[in-house]
């Protein structure tokens, strides 16, 4: 099952820790399953248009991915910590 790994900063918004196994064959489907269990994460990852928030990077198996991209059964979905700022 794909695994979503969250940056530590999102730990306060996730009730069940930083790693979540979720079903789904696309990034969008996997995130929907994540949000079903962790609804507070949704506004932190998606914007009002339903797209990935600007400047939030999500990598699937090491490749920056969009919501429609495929996710494999053993994929690692990694949400990156923001790297810019003071």
């Amino acid at each position: 099952m794909p695994a979503v790994r969250l940056p530590r900063v999102l730990g306060s918004a996730a009730r069940a820790g930083l790693t979540h196994e979720v079903e789904g064959t696309t990034l969008a489907a996997a995130l929907d399953r994540l949000f079903a269990g962790e609804p507070a994460l949704r506004p932190h990852l998606l914007d009002e248009s339903g797209e990935i928030r600007p400047h939030v990077l999500i990598f699937v198996d090491g490749r920056r991915s969009a919501l429609g991209d495929s996710v494999g059964p053993d994929s690692e979905i990694r949400v990156l910590q923001a790297a810019s700022g003071g």
Binding site: V9, L10, R15, A40, H44, D47, E48, R53, V56
Partner: protein, 341 residues
């Protein structure tokens, strides 16, 4: 015992103690800007924000164990507005309000678990003309009473509702506009920074505006300037201690240079409803302090206890209604919110 919640650019902190004995807890929510706190009948709320991850609200019964709420205030999906920051909570004993940027109002009747937009304001007919101030397009202050509801939006102006929030009117006559020079007096473009009112007569309101200090006795139908004794027009803070009626503000040099005049960090007070202002009490630093005080970083208990935080990360407190002031605790990150819990 005093408990002060401090919201900074890098987490939240709690200062708890009295006299010279203070304990510090935190950071709460490390990595997040903490923009607002509230105590809703023993349930504590903290609002967090991030340039990347948006906003969130957390609730706690003990200030130690925090739980995120599932659905913080949000614009409708597909909206071109962003939920940038929750600037202020306001609990009127019945309903909880949140003032947010992009500018809007939301209410909660279950202590912050679920939120509803105040469409009468959020979809106001003038909204296409709303423009942000330096701090963004933000609703940041709410006053509620049986005599009306007032909301401050930068850089739009003060709105009043006389029907419980269904409809809203702009109330800025007598205050200058920061909108384009040379135009006829515009309907919006008034950069209100802070509001405070008299609970016994809620239509008496004081207003720290971008362009000076003002007051109204008629709920905002007309405003008059009251800067007598203040060293500068500019500032963000207006606070009225409900018990004594004493007003407090912290003047800053100018819009261009938002630091205390000459580096003299001082609260100013007025005991005559703003007719005259003077330095409030003693205890102020002798050396220059080039640090500002922002609009949500000032709070009191209406019984003579008043605290504020600076952009330089210092917290100041008086427990004798501004006669003497003390700096508390460590130096924090830039402070944007101070709340007595």
């Amino acid at each position: 015992m005093t408990r002060i919640a401090v919201g900074t650019e890098k987490g939240g902190y709690l200062l708890e103690g009295s006299k010279d004995d203070w304990e510090v807890a935190g950071p709460l929510f490390p990595g997040w800007k903490v923009s607002a706190f509230a105590n809703v009948d023993g349930t504590y709320l903290a609002a967090v924000g991030s340039n990347w991850f948006g906003v969130g609200i957390h609730r706690s019964a003990n200030l130690e164990d925090w739980e995120p709420i599932d659905h913080p205030p949000a614009w409708p999906e597909g909206s071109d507005r962003e939920m940038e920051l929750i600037w202020r909570f306001h609990h009127d004993g019945n309903r909880l309000w949140a003032a947010v940027a992009h500018a809007g109002l939301f209410t909660s009747d279950d202590a912050g678990i679920t939120w509803d937009p105040v469409d009468g304001l959020n979809e106001h007919r003038t909204r296409p003309d709303w423009q942000p101030g330096f701090g963004g397009l933000a609703a940041h202050r709410i006053l509620t009473s049986d005599a009306g509801i007032w909301v401050a939006i930068s850089a739009v102006g003060v709105f009043r509702s006389d029907d419980g929030g269904s409809s809203w009117q702009l109330k800025n006559d007598g205050v200058g506009s920061v909108a384009a020079v040379g135009e006829e007096r515009p309907e919006v473009g008034y950069c209100v920074h802070g509001l405070a009112n008299d609970p016994a007569d809620p239509r008496r309101i004081w207003r720290q505006d971008h362009l000076g200090m003002f007051r109204t006795g008629d709920g905002g139908d007309s405003w008059e300037r009251i800067n007598n004794g203040l060293p500068a027009d500019f500032g963000f803070v207006i606070w009225r201690d409900g018990g004594s009626g004493r007003l407090f503000t912290i003047p800053l040099e100018s819009s261009e240079n938002r630091v205390p005049v000459g580096g003299s960090l001082r609260a100013y007070r007025s005991d005559d409803d703003g007719e005259h202002w003077m330095v409030a009490g003693t205890g102020w630093p002798g050396d220059p302090q080039f640090t500002g005080v922002l609009r949500a970083a000032f709070d009191g208990d209406h019984r003579g206890k008043v605290a504020f935080g600076t952009t330089g990360g210092e917290v100041w407190l008086t427990d004798d209604n501004g006669e003497s002031w003390n700096r508390l605790g460590p130096r924090f990150p830039r402070i944007g919110a101070v709340t007595l819990l």
